[in-house]
Structures are given as structure tokens and as C-alpha cells.
Symmetry: C2
Subunit: 143 residues, 2 copies
Amino acid sequence: MHSGAVAAHRVDVPESGRGAGPRPGGRDRAGAGVAACLDRGVTDEEALAELRRLRASIDNLDAALVHLLAERFRCTQEVGRLKARSGMPPADPAREAFQIERLRTLARDSGLDPTFAETFLNLVISEVIRNHEKIKQDGGSSA
Amino acid sequence: MHSGAVAAHRVDVPESGRGAGPRPGGRDRAGAGVAACLDRGVTDEEALAELRRLRASIDNLDAALVHLLAERFRCTQEVGRLKARSGMPPADPAREAFQIERLRTLARDSGLDPTFAETFLNLVISEVIRNHEKIKQDGGSSA
């Protein structure tokens, strides 16, 4: 998606200050990236320090997002099993419409693009319904 | 995406127990949905109570997700302005590859489908790069 021209200016930042969690790729590759960037005069140390600080926050937020998404899918798995046992259909358009409108409002209130929030929720709902249908096919016993 | 057949079995659940936040659609519509469901014998009160409990958790998690995403985009807006000022390119394939691998590992550890985690992150990164490019075009001063 993003062209090779970008690679020439690559700025990799060491992961110090990051929260707990795996660090694929490791520190060596990141450190080398910073050095290459400084050699080329693409930016200065102050800018890199700021970038490092912001990326540490982003990585912490991403870890939190992944864990919240995992918990959300645990809940919807339970919903899926409940629906399969009770004969309720996997999809629920009225509930989905409610959720989308609620999230758009929450997004507006918190400074997130409401359209992005809706796209995000649609992605999640599609995955949930796919899981619900699988549980239904499996007779309500799927994990 | 989901057929009209679903509507006949619609289960709307009252929003009691939900966390703070707007509630588009309101309680009346939801209450009517439950009554219709019970009338049709689609499920029983116990199943509906369980569905209500799970949906309250899902709604709380969604509110948390929206607020974390809002905070994440606040951070990436800062990254965008920093990159525009410092002449760094909007996209950074090495950083993206690192993030994707890290999130896939976090997803596996927390029981989230790694493929879904990657799809989610790609959605977020696409939006971030779009914002970075806009900031760059605006000369680094865009909000």
C-alpha cells in the first residue's frame, strides 16, 4: 500500500518506555533504524524522542484495545451460545442499529470520527455474526 | 446484510445496567421487543436476563473501546504533526510490520483471533496514514 520511497526515510524507534508485552522485531532493528535516520539528517534527536514517547503511548493503548476486544468477543461468544440454545437468530438488526447510533454519539463526544467508529463497529459485528453462525451450526457447543 | 427473517425474531433488551452514555432508541422500543419475543415463545425470561447482562458488559466495553480509540488518534495526530514538521514520511512500513506482529502476539495471548487483530490494526493504520497525509498537505497545522 505504501511505496518503497518511504523505506528510505524509515524511522524506527527503540521500544523503551513501552508497557509489558511481546516485542517482535526487537531492539536491535529499531536502534539501527534510528541511527540510519540520524545519519541521513531526516530529523533531529528531539523529534525522535518525541516520536518515541508518542509511540510508547500508542503501543500501550493498542495493548489495551486488544485486551478489551478479547473480552468483548468472550462476551459475544456467550451471547452466541445463549442464542443457539434459545433459538434466537445470530443477527439482530435492531440491536446493531442501536449500537451504531450509540457509538457514533460516544465518538462525537470523545473527539473520534463517528464514521470511523461506525466502520470499526461494523467490522466487529460482522465477526460476531460469523462466530454466532458457526456456533449455531455446531449446535451451541462451540468454544 | 441480514435478512428480513431475522426481524420476526428480534430480541430487543432494555438497557438497564448499562454504563453512562447516550441511549439512542430508548427504553420503550427495547421493552416492546422483549414483550414481542416472549409472546412468540422464542425464548424465556431467564435467557433474556442473561442476554441483557451480557449486552450491558458489551456496551461498557464498546464505550471503553471508543474512548481508547479517541485517545489513540489524539496520539497519532501528534505524530502526524511531528512528522510533517520534521520531514518524516506519513507511512512507516517497518513500524507497521512491528505493530502488526506485536498485536498478533498479544491477541494470541489474550484469546483474540490474531487475524481479526491484524484486520483491526490495518483499519486503524489506514485511517492514521490518511490523517497524516492530510496534516502534511495542510503544512503540519491541521488539528
